[in-house]
Symmetry: C2
């Protein structure tokens, strides 16, 4: 295994479809039909948001950096595109759609980018100048952030089943009050 | 698939080893050597804590309920037993140790318990009377809580790499201030 930044980052990114399959495919709906907060997302909404990222965000922005640098800002991403687009699509199908897109994107990334490109710059419409390194790190941490959100929704689906143990389960306490307990 | 509570709960519990393998085994250490908070746990500490649960908590308490009801309280669990016990053990080995213990425990659970037992009661040393249903639900949500903690540590390992995008990544903002952003 190479130990460069791109290998380290894709080493995480390529795992996400496997994790989502192991976690979600075939799981009883009793675990998967609850949002992470009162105005939050269910696991299927999170997977849909990850699909949007594969379709319109990470590789589109990588290409923009490589082709146009900071001369043209990134296009904005519709964070909630999945809510209409994916209505009625089974969760298991969303996971497989995501897996295919992710695999295609990592193959394209491998063809397009080397560690020598990581300091190249692009223009984020709100954040200003960013590097390709920051974009790729964000792609990976964005996965972690949203899979954490899936875990929170899944825990919330059994909020009352745990009875008095809720007092020890930060993932449930934070759904009611984000400042209740660190974690 | 049966749709009873035990089937639903074990349907989640049996996935955790697969998720941990997909997420952690072989992952570069750059992702796995950071705790979820300044006084928190690294992914290896979390897996060690899950091992302790398999060895001394969930099935021991299930048996205590079945054999002694509320007449003898549960033994307390050492939440930090892993910090000394597992020092120097490779993370990948911890994942496999956990997987073996979890498989054995789910097999034992299947032999010992049916949905007809779920209202049987035990005595928690701090929380008082609890049901077997609550114990088993807590086993599953405890998995979700601690895997969420693994995700937070992994995200934290790349806190600075994301540059200005940190402002959009709740999983990083909450490491600095739990009340910074809901999720």
């Amino acid at each position: 295994m190479t130990t460069g930044f791109i290998a380290e980052t894709t080493g995480l990114l390529e795992r996400t479809p496997q994790v989502l399959r192991a976690l979600l495919v075939g799981l009883p709906e009793a675990w998967t039909d609850t949002p992470d907060s009162s105005d939050g997302w269910r696991p299927r909404d999170v997977v849909g948001h990850l699909i949007t990222g594969e379709e319109t965000d990470w590789m589109a922005r990588t290409r923009r950096i490589l082709e146009q640098g900071t001369s043209v800002p990134f296009d904005r991403v519709n964070r909630v595109a999945m809510l209409n687009r994916d209505a009625g699509v089974p969760l298991d199908d969303l996971v497989e759609r995501f897996a295919k897109l992710r695999a295609d994107n990592l193959a394209a990334l491998g063809d397009l980018v080397t560690d020598a490109d990581l300091d190249r710059r692009g223009l984020h419409p709100a954040l200003g100048e960013v590097t390709l390194r920051e974009l790729l790190a964000t792609w990976a941490v964005h996965d972690l952030d949203h899979i954490g959100q899936i875990y929170t929704g899944m825990a919330g689906s059994h909020d009352t089943d745990v009875g008095p143990w809720k007092a020890y389960l930060g993932i449930l306490l934070r759904r009611d009050d984000p400042s209740a307990v660190a974690g």
